[in-house]
Amino acid sequence: MERLLYGQNVDRETKSRARVGLVIVAFACIYTVISGRLVYLAATSDGSQSRRGGGDIIATARPDILDRNGEVLATDVRTPSLFGEPRRIIDVDEAVELLTATIPDLNATEIRERLSSKKGFVWLKREITTEQRQQIHKLGIPGIGFRAENKRVYPNGASVSHLIGHVNIDNQGIAGIEKWLDRSGLADLHSLGFATDRQQKPVELAVDLRVQHAMRSELLAARQKFKAKAAAGLVTDVNTGEIVAMVSVPDYDPNDPREALDKDRINRLTTGVYEMGSTFKALTLAMALDSGKYTLGSSLDARHPLQYGKFKINDFHAQRRMLSLPEVFTYSSNIGTARMALGLGVEHHKAFLKKMGQLDRLRTEIPESAEPLVPKRWAELNTVTIAFGHGLSVAPLQAVMGISALMNGGKLIPPTFLKRSEEEAAKLARQVVKPETSDRMRYLMRLNAEKGSATRAEVKGFYVGGKTGTSEKVINGRYSKSKLLTSFTAVLPADKPRYLVLIMLDEPQPIAETKGYATSGWNAAPTAGKVIARIAPLLGIEPRFDLPPADQQILAATASTRTRTR
């Protein structure tokens, strides 16, 4: 080969032909590689590498937030924003004059100051209208331009405020679900330069907008009627832990979140901790029944107030006799519940509340949460008071989680704001009380609506069960007789629970209609009744009439199925 190309004694023509042949072969190789590569590119590339968003999008695009039925709760709308490049501005005074003439609410001195600075880029006004943009564009001022930005819009205004939270001017979530979105990866995406397009999968929440609205309008009405400082309401699915509605009024409009900073407008269900009052008796009774030491037939001594050191525990509806266990619940006897807790001992009580998630901070998707106020030294007196809901402050959402577990067959399921199926919930669930205990608790709740303190919450057809709770607020270190926090926990339907409803009123006042009372049975319970009457059809609960009383419908029915399955 080498001899053929360079050899001295080879014929000239043969040599040149060999050389040309070599060149042809070399080129043929190169072209083969190039065409091979072309075919490869044409076959494999899907055009994704060439895809680049328009250069004018800077503010984060956020995924839409939908309710469980697909209604829009939050979405992005593109709006132009006005900016200036001070170095390129020729006549500042003229620019300021023209701009203030077009947009009257611009602050002239501030704009002049910004445009006179030496910066390369200054915002003049965020979120102007399309007409204003058109007018300014026509003025043709040098050094003034527009940028399309994503603006977060909440079409339902204040209805879902505490739940979904809100964003700041740069479209970053700073509260509620919006903040959760940022924490769960959106912020990282954005800092890498993605998340500029609106092609993001919408987030589906567990909340039902219609239920949320019904709850809010009833709470607003109740707050006005009872002249309460605040009102809050919660609806959860007991079988999945989904939060179907969460309202705390006064609230704010997330489209204009300045009011959100007001101390009165906090979300009382997650950010506040409260002594839940008699609502906690449900937990104490469940503990007693679950221990096996007490049964529905047990009787407790409520003849005399319980003297404990210098403290005297008394009953609000004092009966001064021996009470059966169901009577302790329906008369909401402090003495009876305290005796039950004492009978089981401090350690048992503490361990039970720990198991029910009442002593640890409850964390959900939304960043707002509060640590429960647990006594540092837990003595017998603490057990006595905590048994009927005083001396331990928890977030209402936490109490709802605990009571849901008593209703759904004994499974503690962490609450969520996102959609969740029953199978997913079953994986997260933890069995905390026996299913039999849950049956008895449902019976007690229903009994309470039939002939106890919850009769005013009864809604015909939905078989509601419930427990009232009234606690005195601590003002300057003492329990105040006039400043109350009333709550009502309702389960529907009580024989086959699906939803738990919590209503809370902060400092309701006695009015003529309530005969001077301000306890839960007179305000929170009827409010819950109204809410249930409105939301039960929305939640698809079929009304049933002429159902037998609780002892037949729940106790007898469940007892027979339990023995059959065994």
Partner: protein, 126 residues
């Protein structure tokens, strides 16, 4: 001689190839521009859709509908006794009366139909 023909052939092939490559390049530039334009249009449309959806959501938000219904409709909140299931519905006793021309609602619908679809059988009626 044969070399000359080969050279000529190679030169012609090169010119042709160059022309072809130019054509492809030009075409692809055109397509890319079209693509960019369409992408822009799609984005604008999507933004418009988002704005309309936001507006729609605002218009059908339960608070607004409730307010409008209270002002303009004689409807009342649903009561549990108004809900019933099909099984408890009593059997229909007699066959329904034959369709009557004088049914006021049917006449109304018929009138509306003339306006939109222009059905002829109703038009002859006085």
């Amino acid at each position: 001689m044969s070399m000359r023909i080969l050279h000529l052939f190679v030169i012609v092939a090169m010119v042709l190839a160059a022309a072809y490559v130019y054509d492809i390049k030009f075409e692809s530039t055109m397509q890319a521009e079209r693509l960019a334009k369409l992408r822009g249009e799609i984005r604008r449309e999507r933004d418009a859709i988002a704005a309309l959806r936001a507006e729609w959501a605002k218009l059908v938000s339960p608070g607004r509908i409730e307010d409008l219904a209270q002002r303009h409709l004689p409807l009342k909140p649903l009561d549990a006794v108004q809900i019933d299931n099909l099984a408890t519905l009593p059997e229909r006793k007699s066959p329904p009366p034959p369709e009557q021309e004088s049914d006021p609602i049917a006449a109304l619908i018929g009138d509306a139909d003339i306006g939109t679809t222009g059905s002829t059988n109703e038009r002859s009626r006085p």
